[in-house]
Amino acid sequence: MITDFGLPAFWLLVKATRWTIYLSLIAFVAGGMAGFIVALLRTSRSAIVRNIVAVYIQIIQGTPVLILLFMAFYGLALFGIRLGPLVAATIALMVYSSAYLGEIWRGCIEAIPRAQWEASESLAFTRWQVLRHVILPQAFRISLPPTVGFLVQLIKQTSVASLISLIELTRSAQLISNATFEPLKTYLAAAAIYFVICFVLSRYSQTLERRLNVSR
C-alpha cells in the first residue's frame, strides 16, 4: 500500500509510460499506412474518389477522439466484436491518424510543382511510376517535420485511452492518485513525463524544418 507519492510511485508511472509508447507507435504505424492510402486517394484523378475521401476526412476530423474510442470499445461490442482496450484504442487512434496524416501528406504531394507531373508523363511514366520515382521521394522530405509534429499530437491523444481503462500513463496516474490522495503531485509527475517525450520530439520537428528550409 502506497501512502504518499514518492519515488516508488513515480517509478510505477515511468513503467506505465511504455504502454503509452507502445500504443503511440502501433497507432502511428497503422494510422500511417491508412493515411498514406487516404493521401493517395485524396490526390486521385477521379473527382468522385477525391470527394468521397474528403467526406471521410471531414467526418473523422469533426468527431472527438473520445467518441471514436467509445464507438470502437462499446459500439463494436454490440456486433459481437469484443475488443480489449488496447485493440479498441489502436483502432480509434488509427482512424484518427489516417484522416489527419492523410490531409498533411496530401498537402505535401500537392506541394510538388505540377510541371513535374507533366514532365514525367511526357516520358511515358505510368501514374504509379510518377508517384514512385518523382513525386513521393520529394514529398517525403517535405512531410517529415509535420509528421513528427503530428506524432506529438498522437502521443498526447493516447491519454484518452485511459477513459476505457487502458493502464497507460494517465490511467496509472489516476490509480496512484486514488491510492496516495496526492492528485496534484501525481498528475504533475505524469505531465512531466509526457513533457519530456513530447518536447524532445517537438524540438526535433523544428530542427528538421530548419534543416529542410536551408537546403531548399
Binding site: 471531414q58 467526418i59 476530423q61 469533426g62 468527431t63 472527438p64 477522439v65 473520445l66 467518441i67 471514436l68 467509445f70 464507438m71 462499446y74 459500439g75 463494436l76 461490442a77 454490440l78 456486433f79 459481437g80 506529438v152 498526447k156 491523444q157 493516447t158 491519454s159 484518452v160 485511459s162 477513459l163 494517465t170 496516474a173 489516476q174 492518485s177 496526492e182 492528485p183 496534484l184 503531485k185 498528475y187 504533475l188 505524469a190 505531465a191 509526457y194 513533457f195 513530447c198 518536447f199 517537438s202
Partner: protein, 229 residues
C-alpha cells in the same frame, strides 16, 4: 444479427441537445477568453520585458507538450490540494482557456513574425510607442494572416471539450455516456453523438468564416479567395 434501435436515442434527444448546448457554451467561453490570453501572451513574447517573455515561453511549451486530459485533471483534482476548489464547469473552462491560450499564443506569434520589419520601422518613424505599434500596425494584419489556423485550433478545442465528460460534466459526450449506461444502445448513441459533433464543427466553421468576412476588409475585397486560404 444485431438489431438497430434508434428509439432510445430519439426518446432522449432533448438530453443530447442540452448536452450539445453546454458544449457550445463552454467552447464559446473558452474561445473568447483563450483568444484574449493568446494575444496577451504573444504580445508579451514580442515586446514584453525578457523575464516575462521567458515565463510565457515556458507556459506555451509546457501546455503544448502535455495532454489536455492531464491538464484538466491537474486543475480539477490537483488544485484542491493547494486550497482551490472548483466545480466541474469552472475547472473545465479554466483548463480549456489555459490550453487554448498557449496554442493561440503560438499561432499569433507566427502571425506577428510574418509582419515585415519595414512596417515596424515606418511605425516607429511616426513616433509610435511599442504598444501602439502592436495595436495599430502589427496585430490586425498578423491575426488576419493566421486566422484560418486560429479557427482550426478553436474547432479542435471544441472537440477536446468532450474530455470534460471525464470530470462528470454533462456536455455532449457526458450526456452520451449517461444515456449509454441507461439504454446500452452504445453504437446508436455514439454515432448520433458523432453526427452532432460534426454538426457543431460545421456550425463553427460557418460562424468563423462569417466573422472573418465581417472583420477583414481584404477578404471582402477579394471575395472567397481570402477566406479559402
Amino acid at each position: 444479427m444485431y438489431n438497430f434501435s434508434f428509439r432510445p436515442v430519439i426518446a432522449n434527444f432533448d438530453l443530447l441537445l442540452s448536452g450539445a448546448l453546454l458544449t457550445l457554451g463552454v467552447t464559446v467561453a473558452a474561445i473568447v477568453l483563450g483568444f484574449v490570453l493568446g494575444v496577451l501572451c504573444a504580445v508579451a513574447r514580442a515586446i514584453g520585458p525578457r523575464p516575462l517573455a521567458a515565463i510565457v515561453a515556458g507556459y506555451v511549451e509546457a501546455i503544448r507538450n502535455t495532454p489536455f486530459l492531464v491538464q484538466l485533471f491537474i486543475v480539477y483534482f490537483g488544485l484542491p490540494a493547494i486550497g482551490i476548489q472548483l466545480t466541474a464547469l469552472q475547472a473545465g473552462i479554466i483548463a480549456m482557456v489555459i490550453n487554448l491560450g498557449a496554442y493561440s499564443a503560438e499561432i499569433i506569434r507566427a502571425g506577428i513574425e510574418s509582419i515585415h520589419r519595414l512596417q515596424l520601422e515606418a511605425a516607429s518613424a511616426l513616433g509610435m510607442t511599442r504598444w501602439q505599434m502592436m495595436r495599430h500596425v502589427v496585430l490586425p494584419p498578423a491575426i488576419e494572416n493566421v486566422y484560418p489556423a486560429l479557427t482550426s485550433q478553436f474547432i479542435l478545442m471544441m472537440l477536446a471539450s468532450s474530455l470534460l465528460s471525464a470530470i462528470a460534466l454533462n456536455e455532449l459526450a457526458g450526456r452520451a455516456v449517461t444515456l449509454e449506461s441507461l439504454t446500452f444502445r452504445s453504437f446508436e448513441i455514439y454515432s448520433v453523438v458523432a453526427l452532432l459533433y460534426i454538426a457543431l464543427t460545421l456550425l463553427f466553421k460557418g460562424l468563423f468564416r462569417a466573422i472573418g468576412y465581417m472583420s477583414f476588409r481584404r477578404w471582402r475585397r477579394l471575395g472567397q479567395s481570402g477566406a479559402a486560404r
